[in-house]
Amino acid sequence: MLPRRCTQGLCILGILLLAWAVILDDMAVLFAGSTLVAVIVWQYLLFDHQLREIVASIEVRRTLSRNPVRKGTSLQVSSGITFRGSPRMQVEMADLIPATTTLDDGTTTIAARPGPKPRTIECTYRIIPLIHGTHNFSGISINVRNHFFEETILMTRPMDCEPTLTVLPTGLFAAPVSELADGTRDNRKASIWSGLDIHSLREFQSGDDLRHADWKISAKYDKIFIRKYTAPMSYPPLVIVDLPFVGAPFREKEFGRMISEVTGLIQQNIQTFQYVSVLIISGPNILHLIREERNGARCMAEIREWMHPAERTVHFYHMPDRSDIRSYTRNCESALEQATDPGVLAFYESLRNRYLAVLQYQRNPAFSGQVARTLSQILTTEAYFFSLGYGDISHIRHVIRPLKAQKIKVHLRIISTAPMADIDLLENLKKTVGVRP
């Protein structure tokens, strides 16, 4: 509780009088000083009583123009605050918008005087959510003052922070149209045409479409035969998202961009292929697999839930895998064949022996097996790997290698171009694994 200017003056006057009373040993001055102390305490207790009355009577009711809402789009909030109390108090209320939103239009602060009967005041404003996820309002801030005191109280009870604003991520990414080997593009539109080639023939069964009857064969065998068609089928690309480590620095803007791209690709896949598969990892940790999800809203809800920096229980610490070490060993051996200097020879021999020793004891990590088992559940011909590219990225090889082994085309999308990313390692990764960036 803060004393206002009038009370500050009274406090100073009271202290001066009491000091004067002590110095002069004057009972009359002591009484005058005590009167001031009593007045201040009286007003303090009175203010506190009236403040509690006002705060206890406050009820907040917020209405959102729409919920859920997409990130970056504006929505209107109408807040009704009901309160009552002493009309001697001036009340200023501020509706605190969620921390992850910005005020677009309108004002969130209302000044009013309470009355003995409950009174409702309303404010309407527009906010823009900046980050996806579920966000609560931050509550309300109440500033109460009279001639003597002033107090600000932050009300953040769950009932003061309702309703929960659900913010959906926005899609900003579109995958390029894949091309078949003969140069034609596959038709991704849903069609009533059941196929191009005849897969087999079988006898007519009740309920079969007579338009599929092969009349020539039917006439030959005096039975109705039905053609079973087949057609080339395209699978949606697998989306792999590598979430940043919660304990390491990363750029929020780039993370937001990555989420937008992932969301865009997911939406496009659902529209085109009617389902989507998303593998969410964080370093060498598999967090979640959304497998062949057909419901866009449900998929977005899962994305909203998972798309945050994650804890990593396992770290690789720039660990090369066995094939890398074999490659290093081969490089050493070729260098040994060309070297003539005894010092250089000794160096490469020592290095090769070290690599061989490492190779002898190093086994494939559990993560590789987990990735292989996870990928075996999914039918796909393309995969998009999204990563910020910060810190250790050696786990990316362990994901890309099994994909390449299954002849799945991999698109590696490293979002970061900042110095925080290990650019050399990334370039090396792209060259070694042979992925198209």
């Binding site: 005590s34 009167t35 506190d48 001697r88 009279n146 109280i153 009300m155 953040t156």
Partner: protein, 155 residues
């Protein structure tokens, strides 16, 4: 006919009480209390629109309270109660019967302070008691205040 504002009524009571007390006590410096009523009236009239009117009134009234209490502690008590009433009514805090009850409680507390001072021989002992009680009240209140804030901040 416009009714008199509560602070002016308090001033009339203060002036009447001071004159009567001065006459009754037959103080050799009787003119002092009468003269000290003038600044109170002047501030009351001139500081009507000022936001810190209460502070100015208290500053102008304190010499009167000291002079009255110098004559007799009970005359000082009367002056202090009426002055406090004038200050809070100028802030609009004495309007209803409930406010008068609270004001009466304040006057009772001030009476106890006056009684304590009357019974004491030196300044130090009543000062320690008054400040001790004030400190205790504020300490208890600060605990309640903390619990109150914690409840409303969702803690």
């Amino acid at each position: 006919m416009t009714s008199l504002a509560p602070e002016y009524r308090f001033f009339i009571a203060l002036a009447a009480g001071t004159v009567l007390a001065t006459a009754f006590l037959a103080s050799p410096v009787w003119y002092l209390t009468i003269v000290l009523l003038v600044p109170v009236l002047a501030v009351l009239a001139l500081a009507r629109t000022r936001p810190d009117r209460g502070f100015y009134l208290m500053c102008s009234g304190m010499p009167l309270v000291i002079a009255s209490a110098g004559m007799n502690i009970w005359a000082g008590l009367f002056g202090a109660c009426i002055l406090a009433g004038m200050v809070v009514s100028a802030a609009g805090f004495i309007e209803s019967g409930e406010d008068m009850v609270i004001f009466a409680l304040f006057c009772s507390g001030l009476f106890l302070v006056a009684l304590l001072i009357e019974l004491s021989n030196h300044v130090l002992s009543p000062l320690i008691i008054i400040l001790g009680i004030t400190g205790l009240v504020l300490a208890i209140h600060s605990v309640h205040n903390y619990q109150f804030r914690k409840h409303y901040s969702g803690g």
